[in-house]
């Protein structure tokens, strides 16, 4: 490993402007983590225009990265205090976190979560620091067939692992791939799906797509779903966990960090899946599993360490291979392209300043988060009292004015509104916009890799299978596709001999049968 480049990265981060951007990023992240509604992907989408306008591209990327991992901290606070997960990755924290809060131990839960988050993230960054360069050097040998297979795997995993119906997620992903072909073809410069519009010839900018589907779509959706209910948070006292609590939580923190690290690297994984897996693991290894859901500190420590570890390790595929693992990473991918950097294995050599600057900013960002999260809990609880109605027009204005500043184009505003309406309708009909955006981002890479491969193979598609790396990836892909079917078979067997513990599944099956 190139230690000089690594240390130079710290010099980049400690420049005052970069530190400031890092601080702003993690603060925004925590804020939107606390506020239910806008998720990290949506917020990153809305703030993408900053990447166009920031003086230094590194600063913009540092800030956007900070939003993602900062949100993992913020989401915990509402889970524990209000039983409302601010983020999807904090859903499981609700069970034990809120139970602890009910017993007057909200402070303990938040404190352990903050320490676990910090530990998990730090383990992950060290892993990223050590593994990143190795993966990148390995990925340098990847040719078009490997990229085609990897992009396909990424899209499929995001579609199958995400919440929502798999077929619908696949539809969304395929539509994303199709939308990515709009514009003039890079190989033959033939116009595709442009409908004689000059603006569409250059293709659709994915900042516009992301801002529309994630940003405007969520803003419109929230407009309808908003509730006048005002939540009264539980009182917090004594944030610092006792030594006994820490001792009880530390194995869970360790396990959660490891689980999170590995699930974060996986395409389609990331924070949400990691927190679920860590919770399940804790429950499984516990001597008395029935404590879970009734205020087991491990039930907070495990998932919270895991979601931060995963949030951090999901940077590995993006920064070393150039494949975003989830929707938030797709936003970072977009931001990197905006600043003129193509993420991929060459990044570490061609742009060491950016590569190490971003990674090392995470060491510092997490330290900032640990230091800030505990004293700021009180302020964030107050922010919860701000009515969503007040924030809605502000985010709406940021989106419209932001998208306009990209190219000073009113066309972009209308295109974004169009995608916003599409995003709203997708949410209404059970289609997740995430796979669409991710597929859109990977679309042109996938198409060009596929076409280059076909030229390389002289039209013989079996070449994808016979090359060792692309073959392995495709085999893994097949496994991913078959796994849900296998699981369903297994589940059917299990439900025949099941305990009433799984009644939600049974209800579902019964309902399906009744129809």
């Amino acid at each position: 490993m190139d230690w000089n480049a690594f240390l130079d990265g710290f010099a980049v981060v400690t420049e005052p402007t970069n530190l400031l951007y890092c601080l702003i990023g993690v603060l925004i992240g925590m804020l939107i983590g606390v506020l239910p509604g806008l998720g990290p992907a949506a917020t990153m989408a809305i703030l993408l225009p900053i990447a166009y306008n920031a003086g230094d591209p590194v600063s913009a990327i540092i800030m956007l990265a900070g939003i993602y991992y900062g949100a993992q901290y913020g989401g915990t606070i509402t889970s524990v205090l209000l039983r409302i997960p601010g983020e999807a990755s904090s859903v499981v924290t609700v069970f034990d976190g809120f139970a602890l809060a009910k017993q007057g131990k909200a402070g303990t839960a938040l404190g352990v979560a903050a320490i676990g988050s910090f530990f998990g993230a730090t383990v992950s960054i060290i892993g990223l620091t050590l593994l990143g360069p190795i993966v990148a050097s390995y990925a340098l040998d990847f040719g078009p067939p490997e990229y085609a297979a990897l992009a396909l795997l990424g899209v499929l995993l995001v579609a199958t692992v995400g919440n929502g119906h798999t077929v619908k997620a696949l539809v969304a992903a395929a539509v994303g791939l199709l939308l990515a072909t709009v514009g003039s073809d890079t190989f033959t410069s033939a116009n595709r799906f442009t409908f004689d519009s000059l603006e569409l010839q250059g293709g659709i900018d994915f900042v516009v797509v992301a801002m529309g589907l994630f940003g405007v779509g969520e803003i419109l959706y929230n407009l309808e779903e908003r509730h006048g209910k005002i939540h009264v948070p539980a009182a917090i006292a004594n944030i610092w966990p006792s030594r006994k609590d820490l001792k009880q939580a530390s194995p869970a923190i360790g396990r959660g960090s490891v689980i999170g690290f590995f699930l974060g690297v996986l395409p389609g994984g990331g924070a949400v899946m990691a927190s679920l897996a860590a919770y399940a693991a804790e429950k499984r290894v516990a001597k008395d599993p029935s404590r879970f859901g009734r205020g087991a500190i491990e039930g907070v420590a495990g998932p919270e360490s895991a979601n931060n570890a995963a949030a951090t390790s999901s940077f590995i595929p993006l920064l070393t291979i150039g494949i975003p693992a989830n929707a938030s990473m797709a936003m970072l991918f977009a931001a990197l392209l905006v600043v003129g950097v193509t993420p991929g294995p060459q990044l570490i050599d061609e742009n060491p300043e950016l590569f190490w600057g971003v990674i090392n900013s995470m060491y510092i960002g997490n330290l900032i988060l640990l230091v800030l999260s505990i004293p700021l809990v009180g302020i964030f609880v107050k922010i919860l009292r701000v009515r969503p109605a007040i924030l809605a027009p502000i985010t709406a204005l940021i989106t419209i004015l932001g998208v306009y500043t990209i190219r000073n184009s009113v066309f972009d505003i209308f295109l974004m509104i169009g995608f916003g309406i599409l995003g709203y309708l997708m949410k209404k009909t059970g289609f997740e916009p995430g796979p669409l955006v991710l597929a859109f981002v990977l679309g042109s890479l996938m198409e060009s890799s596929f076409r280059r491969s076909m030229l390389l193979f002289d039209g013989d598609a079996t070449g994808f299978v016979t090359r060792p790396i692309s073959g392995t990836i495709l085999a893994f892909l097949l496994l991913v596709l078959l796994l849900p079917l296998l699981k369903r078979l297994l589940r059917r067997r299990v439900t025949e001999t099941t305990t009433p513990d799984h009644h939600d599944h049974d209800d579902h099956d019964e309902r399906a049968e009744l129809r």
Binding site: N53, F95, H165, A174, F193, A392, T429, F450
Partner: protein
């Protein structure tokens, strides 16, 4: 008091209580489910999209596997979309993941209209007046805020954006003042 004690008979179990509360909340917050019509219409729209894409892509020239034309990839993707749409038509009718349009959906329509309005007015009269108007519509009519906070927040937000974009970031937004 240990967690175990909370589970003695008679006393309410925290887990059961939590589950009930979460279920209650979800039931409260989830809008009514849209029926099979929603699913069928959605699948048909997807199908039309896939077929339309395939027809157009076919026109761009498929080429051969050896020499893929510009239409080959979009054609293949469109076929996948169409096939998935048919799958949805067959198995998706009974899904319960669609939400009914309610009266509150008109709020979305109104919100979308203000976006379009801002888009139209921005290049002609600058962003300040449309931004204040958007704020007023969203706060007062869509959000039910009081007139006083509506006016204060709309003007303060617009002023903040004015300073942020034109002075701090030096981005040339069309502006009247």
């Amino acid at each position: 008091m240990s967690e175990r004690d909370t589970r003695t008979d008679g006393e309410p179990d925290i887990l059961a209580e939590l589950q009930a509360e979460v279920a209650q909340d979800l039931a409260d917050e989830r809008p009514p489910v849209g029926g099979p019509a929603y699913q069928v219409v959605a699948a048909l729209v997807v199908l039309a999209f896939g077929v339309g894409g395939a027809v157009l892509a076919h026109g761009y020239g498929l080429g051969s596997l050896k020499r893929p034309g510009p239409g080959l990839w979009p054609f293949a993707v469109s076929i996948v979309i169409a096939v998935l749409a048919v799958v949805l038509l067959v198995i998706g009718r009974t899904l319960d993941d669609a939400e009914k349009f309610t009266k509150a959906s008109f709020l979305v329509l109104a919100g979308g209209a203000t976006f379009v309005g801002l888009g139209i007015l921005l290049p002609t009269i600058g962003f300040e007046i449309p931004a204040v108007l958007l704020g007023i519509v969203w706060l007062r009519f869509l959000g039910g805020e009081s007139w006083r906070s509506t006016i204060v927040i709309s003007i303060a937000t617009t002023a903040a954006f004015y300073l942020l974009f034109l002075y701090a970031l030096k981005i040339p937004l069309p502006h009247l003042f």
